[in-house]
Symmetry: C2
DNA sequence: TGAAACCTGAGTAAAATACTCAGGAATAGA
DNA sequence: TCTATTCCTGAGTATTTTACTCAGGTTTCA
């Protein structure tokens, strides 16, 4: 019952995109620098986000990423599912349980999964980036940056 | 973002206790048989549940387990936390984030964690065992059992 | 006393996670 | 057309977590 770093990075990266990509394309290197995430790992992650249709990309020099749809139309559920490929709260199914011969908690997990999904789906990217704390952080990141590489983050561990 | 089998087993076992332990102590062997869970694994799991104060045990012959408090006072959150030791939806903290120098999504995860906890805490064991499907299953398990070992489950994989 | 049950610590195979790496393909601008 | 920039892809790998097993101990009832 925990979130993987993959899921966390995905949300962080999407917030970064939403905050900084008002007009321009954003490069992975910029996000990697600002959020202190390995570039290679981000590339792998953005593959998933792109396959899920959450972001668009432009190749080549001056290329980069942007949101594929409006901030209001992207939910936490969208991002986490894209990143992890599942929000798996079910009983697992497989050999020990199926619809014909369900386990004791089968319908319980099915219902919970549904409720949890609706909970995460109600949290939109637009809500997330509107919080005061996030706005403050984003501004700091812009101010202390030289080009795309922020100074104050360089002391953190990669 | 998924539930481990440990968490699933914990909930299943607690439901089993709630359904069958109206008066008597229930042995681990009985639960292991009915729910098709390895006895050794259950023992390890029940250690956690007992340390968390969710169940009481009586040693020796005729011993067994029972709920430590009323079904209404045990929530899904209680069980999952006891089993997994965390419902970890936070940003992880550690070297890349702390309260003094929080990451972009720090407060986001803190808030989400809280909301998710409240969601799970609102689901009480008494609600879970009241569902029609669970009642039906539990009755079948009693009827088809010889002693404590159910027949219709024996074909499943352990 | 001995069987039935809980109790404990330690170990281990398999799976998942969190990355890295090497190189290819598209595009902008010189 | 060349070169730098950027996305794109497949494959590999160390570490951590999960899901379990095992060997033996302790408590209690009859």
């Amino acid at each position: 019952m925990k979130l993987t770093t993959r899921g966390r990075y995905a949300v962080t990266a999407m917030m970064d995109l939403a905050l900084h990509a008002k007009l321009n394309r954003i490069t992975l290197a910029a996000i990697a620098g600002r959020q202190n995430i390995s570039l290679s790992y981000l590339e792998q992650l953005f593959r998933s986000l792109r396959n899920a249709g959450l972001i668009k990309s432009v190749r080549g020099a001056k290329g980069g990423y942007m949101l594929a749809r409006s901030e209001k139309e992207i939910s936490l559920a969208d991002i986490l599912i894209a990143a992890d490929e599942h929000i798996n709260l079910t009983c697992g199914g497989g050999s020990t349980c199926n619809d014909a011969d369900p386990c004791l908690t089968h319908s319980l997990w099915t219902n919970l999964s549904q409720e949890f999904f609706e909970f995460l789906d109600s949290k939109k990217l637009s809500d997330l980036v509107r919080s005061r704390h996030v706005q403050t952080m984003a501004t700091q990141q812009d101010v202390t940056s030289i080009g795309d590489i922020p100074i104050h983050i360089s002391s953190k561990i990669g």
